[in-house]
Amino acid sequence: MTHTALIIEDSAVQANLIGRMVSAQPGWTHLHFPSFREGYEALSYYQVQAVFLDVFVGQFNAINHIDAFRKKTGTAPVVLMTAGSSHEAISDTLHKARQARADFELRKPFNEADIGYIFQQAFQAPTSKERRKTVLVIEDSRTLRTFIKGILEFSGYGVHEAETMEQAFKDVNIARVDAVLCDVFMPGMGGLQGMRHIKKTWPSVPVIAMSAGLDEKVSETEVLKATERLGADAQIAKPFKAEELLATLNAILSSPILLDV
């Protein structure tokens, strides 16, 4: 079966290049429109399996249109392409893209392999329901990370690990994980700022805070209360047993995800 990608891009030259890169992927073809309106209307006639939006098309910003396209295309991943603009740094644009919950962000210029990687990530399982849930574990203690990884993998979860918040932000696409399990006191920016950043940037990704407190100075209850105030969805006091961790994770993952309608 042939898959079709919809490309909205106002530069004809760039659209041509991107179209060729998409169509070079096995089993893929593409449709191109130079404006959001035309692309959106085309979705009444065509079924597409992926949407590539240029961030700035004329004077319009694609970030405002992501939800509309998503409603019309269902499960097709939305890929936002950006080279920044004279008004905005590229990092700001990418930040907004994450808030608008684009599935992938692509910095221009990109190549065929980048598109291949996105398709591989997006379509590695037949349906999203069958996709193995993944948890990002951010914890500086290697022993504890190994312990948690063991529990989670044994229970069927995929696990990404990071020793610091900085490493997690650099190495893991947080928009694609199902939950984040995060320590509070660790080298680098630490869990309070890190969890705050995750909840601000990817509000729909659930975060579980874990802490043992600080010796005599601060109890784990106080630390976990602070994480609750900054938006963490659940808390677990260290040390914990495997069952406690799994119960907390199950409770978080079975709550309905609020979609903007």
């Binding site: 006191f185 630490g190 309070l192 705050r196 100075k217 601060v218 602070a226 105030r229 900054l230």
Partner: protein, 209 residues
Amino acid sequence: MSVRLLDRADLLKVCGGAGDPDQLSVLIGTGRGLGTAGIVPDHFGETIILPCEGGHSDLPARNPQEVEIFKFLERKYGHVSRERAISLNGLADIYDYLIGFDEVPETATTAAMVAELASLGAPAARDAIRYCQTFLADAASDAALMAGARGGIYLAGELMLLIGDLIDWDAFETRLADKGRLQGYLQDIPVYLIKAPDIELIGLTSLFH
């Protein structure tokens, strides 16, 4: 009252010159709030303590970043006294502001958490301590100038015990002496960090000497 009873081991000179031991000193105590006192030698071997309310004086802001912190504290509390920034709560508030936590009215961050994060290298926690240290330097120099405290400046209290080791004393001294023509006057005043816990109790024992 406790200052003259402290052992040398409990007093750490952190910056400044020799000063004039016969002149008045000021004490700045930081904990849940900010307390100030004048310490006046009566030249008969006794000390007169002048309790003051310097913690309620206005917090100065001297650059755009400090102005932003001031505005945040003003939104939260109304009048921004020095103790809104130079206290355990003040340190937690500044950290909350720096990590973009300013729209949440009641956070549960504590100064001990900020100090721990700073000791682990968290940039925002280190910045929060740097701002606290800057505001404290302003409080110390203003108190010394207004009282003519050439005897010394003593820094004490729970906040100091928590963040004393994390303070950049060179930067503290630079800010403290940054008063234009009176730079030399301030550079000569010795600044001591009181490392003894429970100095209130030590002070009380002085009543029985």
